[in-house]
């Protein structure tokens, strides 16, 4: 099955084409939905078969865990050879599995959620296209194919955010997402160009094997530059500082879109890219430092903003930004497999949360403001319980998935070896604070929505009396995802003091620990104390032994999660609802700062948008109108003037023309006699 892995891309592509081109002729909504879901189901089946094949061949592949499938020769120009190449290795297998699986569930969910929408087949077409592009991205065997997928998911994100395009606001949100993404794409392109220059090829296998040699021969700043440019692209795609602004506005799209693209898959593309190109990021310690710091700052900032938002989807959006920050912290400290672990668990519980919010919005008949919800638990049991489970998962309550992944991230930060000695402790404390805030705001949104006294709008009560649970098509995926959120964490990894299940770590090792050896050498070169790989480094503060420190840190994160969830959020939003108003007044500056998203959008508008528009206006008025048009019109004017100037020669008198003849003869004779000799 390995050589047919491209089928996983082909099925959704076919589904997209069929639904896209013939959608208007398919009168039955059921048919469109079936086409879309079947395509994804087949793709998931291919993913499973590929995984099985890969596992059974793992012994023979152990020499080279990288299995490439060349589809066709693509760009052959001179010495540059870029083929349409797919790479099957542990990392791509993991991505393939959870992308197709979660997408399949969301497709089923969409058949229920979009049932009343007239753009039904268009929706499934775009959704299928998106999955196809995401798989191209994940399965790409060289930077060029990955970039095709990268751009493709950006395009589909734009199409899907602006799905209800008749409303200008939605269209603008789609545009914002695309433009901000584009800025990131510039970074990716420069990074890819630099890779091409220094490596001579964009193939990942080449990069993996040649990285130590190339970076040893090149200047110190080369891997740092490549890494930073690529990370710029990652900030664009994965909504980190400074390009995070598009994700909250992307909530203008339908909720399944938010679940799929902006929670589970597309925004993880940046993390995937960093993990995929980990030799480059590990080559220069400053690169990792930058990534970790940016991720941490983003996580903290997003968490503070999520604390005050009223729209249920916006809270989840900022939560996504925050969790992505965690993933980048993991990448920055060199624990790439942990980042992928968190990607997978986050996909499960965040998708469940988004789909659950969609179910709530559906039940509340398009009401998204949590201030007008409350008391839904009685009427929407399925949604309630899955939502609560996912909330506990994201908060990091053991034994749910989020605990294992987030805790491991914090521990990796603690044992981080970097020459910036203050970094591990500071980052750990900030991350812990962020985890506390995560639990708090997630508890806030959950209890505010489902518990407490109903605060429904009068118009809603008059029309519908009370919310209804959604249909099975929508609830079933919620259940599946919640179940995954429960078991996936422990199944994939448990820390040493809880059994030491290293399934995911060992499986991903060939893909994500490539730079470990080189990083260790660099660390030795930098004068760090420890050397060699797979050594358990010491954390920034040791209480007794390393193991005990680990347990204590884990306990600390669980403690803050419990406090946030049950001792702060629960009472504030159920029994003592309304007490927050006094808090808002007391901490007014903090509140407004958080509520207005740290004024980042306004800052960008003042600093970038207005000068940009002014510059464009100046270019138009001065360069285009006066210089370019002036040149063109000037040429026309010159010709006209020339004609006008020569006009007096056309007298119409034959005698004058005889004179001109004679003049020509005389000139010719002059030329002949004088110049030709």
């Amino acid at each position: 099955m390995l050589q047919y892995v491209w089928l996983a891309i082909a099925f959704p592509l076919i589904g997209a084409v069929v639904n896209g081109l013939f959608g208007r002729f398919i009168k039955s909504k059921l048919a469109s939905g079936v086409i879309g879901c079947t395509a994804l189901g087949l793709s998931f089946a291919v993913a499973l078969l590929t995984w099985y094949d890969y596992m059974t061949q793992a012994f023979t592949l152990r020499e080279s865990p990288f299995y490439t499938v060349t589809l066709w020769p693509w760009i052959h120009v001179g010495d540059m050879k870029i083929d349409a190449l797919l790479l099957v290795d542990p990392l791509s297998v993991v991505m393939l599995l959870f992308v197709t699986g979660v997408s399949f569930l969301i497709h089923i969910y969409s058949t229920g959620y979009m049932a009343h929408d007239e753009g039904y087949s268009r929706f499934f077409s775009y959704l299928n296209l998106f999955v196809a592009m995401m798989l191209i991205l994940c399965l790409g065997g060289n930077g060029a194919v990955m970039f095709v997928g990268w751009e493709g998911v950006g395009l589909c994100s734009y199409l899907l955010i602006g799905f209800w395009y008749k409303d200008m606001y939605n269209a603008n949100c789609g545009m914002k997402a695309f433009v901000v993404n584009r800025i990131g794409d510039f970074g990716v392109l420069i990074g890819l160009f630099m890779i091409m220059v220094y490596f001579g090829s964009l193939d990942f296998t080449t990069i993996f094997s040649q990285a130590p040699a190339v970076f040893a021969a090149a200047d110190k700043w080369v891997p740092l530059a490549i890494a930073l440019f690529l990370f710029l692209g990652a900030t664009g795609k994965s909504a980190q500082l400074p390009l995070h602004i598009w994700l909250p506005d992307a909530m203008a799209g339908p909720t399944p879109v938010s679940a799929l693209i902006h929670a589970a898959t597309m925004v993880t593309a940046g993390v995937y890219m960093v993990a995929r190109l980990n030799p480059i990021f590990s080559a220069n310690p400053t690169a990792g430092f930058v990534v970790a710091v940016v991720g941490c700052a983003t996580a903290f900032m997003a968490a503070t903003i999520a604390m005050t938002q009223n729209d249920i989807k916006k809270v989840l959006a900022y939560s996504t930004v925050s969790q992505l920050g965690f993933m980048f912290i993991a990448c920055g400290v060199g624990a790439y497999w942990v980042a992928i672990f968190h990607v997978v668990t986050h996909a499960f519980f965040k998708a469940c949360l988004f789909l659950g919010s969609g179910s709530v919005i559906h039940g509340m008949h398009e009401e998204q403001d949590t201030r007008y919800m409350g008391g839904l638990a009685k009427y929407m049991k399925g949604t309630y319980w899955t939502f609560v489970i996912s909330t506990f998962a994201i908060a990091g309550i053991p034994p749910l998935a989020g605990f294992f992944s987030k805790d491991e991230i914090l521990w990796q930060v603690a044992i981080w070896q970097t020459r910036f000695g203050w970094a591990p402790s500071v980052l750990w404390i900030v991350a812990l604070l962020t985890a506390f805030m995560t639990a708090t705001y997630m508890g806030r949104v959950t209890w505010k929505t489902f518990l407490g006294a109903p605060r429904w709008k009068d118009s809603f009560v008059a029309k519908h009396k009370h919310p209804h649970e959604s249909g099975p098509a929508m609830v079933m995926p919620l259940v599946v995802l919640a179940a995954l959120a429960v078991v996936a964490g422990a199944a994939l990894f448990t820390p040493v003091w809880l059994g030491g299940n290293k399934l995911l770590e060992e499986f991903l090792a060939p893909s994500t620990s490539i730079g470990a050896a080189h990083g260790a050498e660099a660390a030795v070169a930098e004068g760090a104390v420890h050397g060699g790989e797979a050594v358990m480094h010491a954390p920034f503060v040791t209480l007794g032994s390393t193991e005990i420190t680990e347990i204590v840190f884990a306990a600390a994160s669980v403690l803050v999660a419990l406090i946030g969830l049950f001792f702060i959020a629960l009472p504030l939003y159920t029994k003592r609802y309304g007490a927050t108003e006094a808090l808002k007044l007391r901490f007014k500056p903090l509140y407004t700062f958080s509520f207005n998203k740290w004024y980042v959008d306004e800052l960008y508008h003042k600093v970038i948008v207005i000068p940009g528009v002014a510059f464009a206006y100046m270019c138009w008025q001065f360069f285009d109108l006066r210089i370019v048009d002036g040149a063109v019109n000037g040429v026309a004017w010159v010709l006209g003037a020339l004609g006008q100037g020569l006009r007096p020669l056309q007298t119409g008198f034959v005698r004058n023309y005889a004179l001109y003849l004679l003049l020509g003869v005389v000139l010719y004779m002059l030329y002949n006699l004088l110049i030709q000799g």
Binding site: R647, Q650, T651, G652, F653, V654, R655, A658
Partner: protein, 106 residues
């Protein structure tokens, strides 16, 4: 080149120049025509002068004179037709003035 031949060439040039001057100055087509005949004769003179220059016992060429003969014949034909045109202009009582033909004035 002998003196006569060289002088004949210069004479030919002079007559040609006078003919050209006449063409440029006069407004009546008949007179212009006569100046053109003068120019043709100047060319004839040049032809015959060169024939005289190149003739030798080893190569007794008479090309120049025969060509001059042809030129005279052609000039005759040309005069016949040209004057016929001018005559028909006269008969239609059109003003016979070369300066009247200026519709191509730009």
């Amino acid at each position: 080149m002998s003196a006569i031949v060289a002088n004949s060439l210069i004479l030919s040039a002079m007559l040609f120049t006078i003919g050209v001057l006449g063409v440029m100055i006069h407004r009546h087509p008949v007179v212009i025509f006569m100046c053109i005949e003068l120019m043709l004769n100047a060319a004839n003179l040049a032809l015959i002068a060169f024939n005289r220059h190149h003739y030798s016992a080893a190569w007794p060429t008479l090309d120049g004179q025969v060509y001059a003969f042809m030129v005279i014949a052609i000039a005759a034909a040309e005069v016949a037709v040209g004057l016929a045109i001018i005559v028909s202009l006269f008969k239609r009582r059109v003003r016979v003035d070369v300066d009247e033909i200026n519709l191509l004035r730009g």
